[in-house]
Subunit: 481 residues, 3 copies
């Protein structure tokens, strides 16, 4: 008995959530490393360099407006809002973890995007003439995309890890992402405009695997904090809506100029609209009350999350000729599957698979991502010259260079292969990183102290002081009666 006691004390001492030195150390060292690596490797590309004027004249580009900046900057800003406000506020639903949600999201995204510029740059934007990575607005978008994968993973472990663990998770996540992306897009030559496979499937399984490795059997000790409160749910709706509204920009941000961006935006817009209706339908059908806003991890928060599944699932195929009704069908199915996932799968996974998925990313990202990969493979395989036109087919699927003999059916196979790679990287990478994160050196909270901003933030006192008093009164009342 005494032995267990003392062991527990050691554990509790390890679980003191003190990151007062480790967090600054990580931030300073890594940021310094970024500066050095940027100094060695990163330069402006020809469209953001002062030599643009000469480049423009030399290439007979008639106007400044043809700078890629004007094709992509509005979409970039929308994506940027999704990353910081969308993901950040979507996770504020927990009643006492709003700062952890928004603040740590902010921290890891700000670090991740720098590391992503380097990692993705080495694979995609390296100028072999001088060994420099040349960046422009498209790189910024891709960095935000890469960060999105890590933020998805954060959703699975929300409230259960320390900021230092999150930094480690992001460092490895971005690295794995860049490799996986290179394999899928360049080696396998799969297309993935909105990142159903590359971002959502990978990010989803990466987070779930880490959560599985960090399984906390006594997490119910902090169940008092696992719910939402009225206003925290309204804050979460801000996140939901900004993700929902700007998803067409997400899926069209890096597609081909012209019809590519145009079509991707339309398809995403339609898929998302359709998802809302089936989400509401299933949510209403399977609850005691009409809608369920309560009880995280049991019934989930359908309106806040499942309404977004259509945007995930249409990611790969958004730039293809999916057709407007095709987008609606994808959204229709995803709303149903995602909501049922929150109702049945999340509790099942927690109970039987030991996967505690705080935000239900399996239902919002992993499953819809896989569906998106499959839809993409089918749509690609079914492409015909009569629908796409000769030039359209080549442009859309990029049948050029080494892949100029590619045909749609084979492209479908490559898409499927890409999906498998994303799943493997997600699960494998997650288990690996999960092992590292299990080390008892990261300052994560004890089981009875999860989902609590108090662990890492000094909080204002006012509202915190309400519950005890009310409890006291309650207590008094019960005594009196």
């Amino acid at each position: 008995m005494g032995c267990v006691q003392s062991f527990r004390e050691i554990c509790d001492r390890q679980k003191n959530t003190n990151v007062r030195l480790s967090l600054p150390a990580v931030c300073f060292v890594w940021q310094t490393a970024m500066i050095i690596l940027f100094g060695v490797f990163i330069r402006y590309n020809e469209e953001s360099d002062t030599h643009w004027v000469e480049h423009r004249k030399a290439n007979n580009i008639s106007s400044d407006i043809e700078n890629d900046f004007y094709f992509r900057y509005p979409s970039f800003q929308d994506v940027h809002v999704m990353i910081f406000v969308g993901f950040g506020f979507l996770m504020t639903f927990l009643k006492r973890y709003s700062f952890g949600a928004v603040g740590f999201n902010f921290l890891i995204a700000a670090f991740g995007l720098q590391w992503a510029l380097l990692m993705q740059g080495w694979f995609h934007s390296l100028d072999y003439t001088d060994g420099k990575i040349k960046i422009g607005v498209e790189n910024l978008i891709n960095a935000d995309f890469c960060v999105a994968g890590c933020l998805i993973a954060y959703g699975a472990v929300l409230g259960k890890v320390s900021p230092v663990q999150l930094m480690v998770m992001t460092l490895f996540g971005v690295t794995l992402f860049a490799v996986e992306e290179y394999i899928i897009l360049n080696l396998i030559h799969a297309r993935d405009a909105g990142g159903s496979m590359v971002i959502h499937t990978f990010g989803g399984y990466y987070g779930l695997s880490i959560s599985w490795m960090l399984y906390r059997p006594n997490l119910d000790q902090s169940s008092r904090l696992q719910g939402s409160c009225y206003h925290s749910d309204v804050f979460a709706m801000i996140g939901t809506l900004f993700l929902w509204m700007f998803w067409p920009s997400f899926n069209s941000a890096i597609t081909d100029h012209g019809d590519g961006q145009h079509r991707a935006a339309i398809n995403t817009y339609l898929a998302l609209a359709s998802t809302v209706l089936t989400t509401v339908a299933i949510s209403s059908l399977f609850q005691n009350q009409t809608f369920q806003i309560k009880d995280l991890g049991v019934d989930g928060v359908h309106i806040q999350n499942s309404t977004l599944a259509g945007g995930v699932a249409v990611g790969t195929a958004a730039e293809f000729m999916l057709m407007p009704y095709g987008s609606l069908i994808v959204g229709f199915c995803c709303g149903i599957i995602s909501t049922l996932g929150y109702i049945y799968l999340t509790p099942f996974m927690e109970k039987h698979l030991k996967i505690q998925d705080t935000c239900g990313i399996h239902n919002l990202h992993a499953m819809p991502g896989v569906i998106g990969g499959i839809v993409g493979a089918i749509t690609a395989a079914a492409a015909t010259e009569s629908v796409y036109g000769r030039e359209g087919l080549v442009n859309t699927f990029d049948f050029e260079g080494a892949f100029k003999d590619m045909v749609p059916t084979r492209q479908g196979g490559h898409q499927a292969a890409g999906l498998c790679v994303a799943i493997c990287f997600g699960i494998g990478g997650g288990i690996l990183v999960g092992c590292i994160l299990r080390l008892p050196i990261w300052g994560d909270a004890a089981d009875d102290n999860c989902f609590d901003d108090e662990s890492y933030w000094e909080l204002p006192e006012d509202e915190e002081s309400v519950p005890p008093i009310l409890q006291y009164n309650n207590h008094m009342r019960n005594k009196d009666v």
Copy 2:
């Protein structure tokens, strides 16, 4: 007596707000219908189709940047934010109806935009060669506009209707909108860039008529929930500001490329700025305290609403040569009229006309919409070739095709005719739809249960539990003393 009692019981049973089966049924059936209709009718237009490359070359378009996507997508995204965050959060001011405001707004907008793409498509974008509707980014904007009309109407009945009623209201609203819009824009050839007439006047009177048909004499039974609370009012300010900031995009989203969009944005920006000052002035002058944030339906919430009236009123004339000072004058007047409307007209309408207007849409949309129609008619009638230039006049008023002999003075008359059509459709359509919504089958809440999210949402418990305890304490204290 017993008879009345039993009748009441029946009514109460009818008023059980159970939409657990009807809502899913409506969502599933209508979404399925959308898929079928989209399959039959809707295709990409030439700018979002993979044949764009060929089209571009055939038409000597020098660059992808001339795809309509790049002219309109940034404005589209702003409009999208207005529809979902702007309208949604503007209505969160009620202390316990934030989910109803944001959530149902989300649901009906997602359905409405699909139906709008079809209805507007049949009237405006039907390709007679193959019987298909060809959609691009402009159609998405117009669908959002169409939905805006229905969301305005939602403002009048906020908290008093069930989600099924809202779906019905949206179905008919979109249908009426498309017909009305076709008559005003195509048959009458009125111009209405920002939709003062087509969107705001129609939507306003549509909602007010429905509210009149659904008059609840005992609504004061839920007066405890009709007020706002501190944080719900801050949430509402999010809605206000996003509407206010993006209104220039709203009014310029579908105007002519080039100077048309440019001028519409400037005019709206100025009108809105001017409105803020007069709203504050009147609000301060007529209240006990400086500003009034409280007492919904009595004094209204001026800063949250009246500050937007200038954007509504400048909608029609925004693309004309209204001149910067003209915009300021319109905004000046609307701030005054709208705020006075909240102070005097809304209580008067509730008391004597049996129109319960939860959000005061009469002051924010209906009246400023009518003013906008009149301003548009006057500005059009006063147009001269010396101000507009020969080409400018033809471009701005679209004096082409069947209307190539049109002159400004006559155009002014057509504008006025358009305004009348909008009012008639609003009132007529509202009464019709109101009749349908009075049927006791829709699951709307009883009079003492309005404005309460509990009716349709399962809510987190925490804050809900505060009031009873405090009431108890209050009670105890009063007893003691």
Copy 3:
């Protein structure tokens, strides 16, 4: 004694915060003046006028897309969001001053932008052929920029001044801004794309000087309201994030078409990312807890504010060839300096310099602004033709017209001179305006009544009623025990 008493009573009567007549009077008169001045002076420029078609043809502009509207409108909307939501919500952190923060921000910005269009127009956009100011989208952006300077100043006096004082402060602030801007940009020929000097340095010192003039020795009497509460801090994060995300648009909004805008956005994006990490590091290192969200004016609110310092400091140099690593270094340093400023400098300034800086604008705007000016001067002085290219150098620094013989080293000197002008105008102007604002006619709140929305807004009752009851209960409990 009785004398002091009666003097106090007079003061208290003067401090009755009654602006019921003065505020409407100011709003009406000034708005009317705006209408008259706009009528006399302001017209559309050639790109927003209906003569654009003719202008386009005459100048061989091939497409409507080359209208400046399409180069700048997306950035304009982002800046607009920063002004109204960004600045507004950043200041909502006080537990009972959210309406004052958002509402007065709204009011003074709406007035300020009109006055700025005139003031800046006279200096920069006056068409000497007809004596009119010709406005387009760039003028709207500049007006928003000008307003930003005044909103920064508002941050220093937040909660301590009346809306009438704010209007006066804005009137003079915009005037001073326009003169200072003309001297710095046109006479001295300094470059300042993101306004490190013109906006942030000026605005910061302007606000600090006013706060110094309005020093309140007994401000601790309202210390109960000087803190934040949990949800008010989450609201403030909305402001933080929208400022952070859209800062690349702020710094690139009025830079040169093409590479200028492109590069400015990249540099700002990187500087901001870097700032987040060092802010977190310093905040964590110097606090008892990991992060500090509490205790306004003592430890400050680092995450909410210091994370933005990088955007300020990179403002001037954003359009230069600062290089990606250069941006990271600027951000790195500013995160450290700004956070340390909140920890040490703000309390020091309050205690020893009698400067009460509610939002800590010295750390967020004034200091980083000065750093930005210095960075700009160094970067300009270090510019070489080998890095910029012949044409690039001329374009970037605008070595044309009267300044065509300028060289980079001398440009560096001019930049430094510009910085000095900004500081002088800020301090001098602030002292002057502070004198005016000390007159006892403006209806500002008494020392024990600051930071309280009750002074100017009629508030909903619910939450307000909680504290007294709880206090009562607390009191009872203490008695019992």
